[in-house]
């Protein structure tokens, strides 16, 4: 079973997502939630990094956290998959272990 990495801080505030991407094994998945959703947006300095990472990782974004910040799915990079809390729970059952990048 593949690892699920959870990242909850903006890549413009912390380097937790950069560290995660540097160390995450290929085929592992990444969930962007809380302020981590900012990494999923198109047209930022970080967008290209995410686009590159999509070649080796499944990347998910938590939609309620996206919407809580006034963002919408239309602004999300193509290939990043949308999940709600139920989807978050499902990701934790289909992955192991769950690694929080705090």
């Amino acid at each position: 079973m593949n690892t699920l990495h959870t990242v909850n801080k903006s890549p413009f505030e912390r380097n937790s997502l950069s560290s995660c991407l540097r160390l995450a094994a290929a085929e592992s998945s990444i969930l962007l939630f809380e302020d981590g959703i900012y990494a999923a947006l198109q047209g930022t300095e970080f967008s290209e990094t995410i686009q590159t990472a999509l070649a080796t990782h499944s990347i998910y974004v938590l939609v309620p956290d996206l919407q809580a910040r006034g963002m919408s799915l239309e602004q999300v990079i193509a290939g990043v998959q949308a999940v709600d809390y139920a989807g978050f729970v499902d990701l934790t059952t289909t992955h192991y272990p769950i690694q929080a990048w705090l």
Binding site: N8, F33, E34, Y85, F88, V89, T93, P97, I98, L102
Partner: protein, 130 residues
């Protein structure tokens, strides 16, 4: 599936308490079991029953108590983290010679061993924090 949840951040600090709560709720709705929610570091602030948020805001502390009551979720607060931050149950308040206690209903104070046990017993440990 059996889950253990670790909350390392205080209520109203950023979003960890909210995320943990929403995750637990979604997991219960799917029929999963929450073996334990362990509150560590500033997470122990979730357990104060004296928190009084504005009426139009969510009451994070009360929400946990209600969850414990409705779903028999075991809410455990780390004793060392709690004592440093002034979170006491009646027995601890008495033992420490304090004039008040503030542990909310549904929570219990115990040791770090409860986190280790939860991580062994549960199939997944999900960590929420800062």
């Amino acid at each position: 599936m059996k889950f253990a949840i670790l909350v390392n951040e205080g209520a109203y600090q950023h979003q960890a308490s909210d995320s943990a709560y929403q995750f637990v709720k979604a997991a219960l709705e799917k029929g999963h079991e929450i073996f334990r929610v362990f509150f560590y570091h500033d997470g122990v602030y979730n357990a104060s029953r004296l928190s009084v948020p504005p009426q139009d805001d969510r009451n994070i502390n009360k929400r946990w108590s209600e969850l414990a009551q409705q779903h028999q979720v075991d809410l455990v607060v780390c004793i060392a983290a709690a004592q440093r931050r002034g979170i006491l149950d009646a027995a601890e308040a008495k033992r420490q010679g304090k004039d008040a206690d503030n542990l909310a209903e549904g929570f219990r104070i115990s040791g770090l061993g409860q986190l280790i046990e939860a991580s062994i017993e549960a199939e997944r440990l999900i960590v929420f924090g800062d």
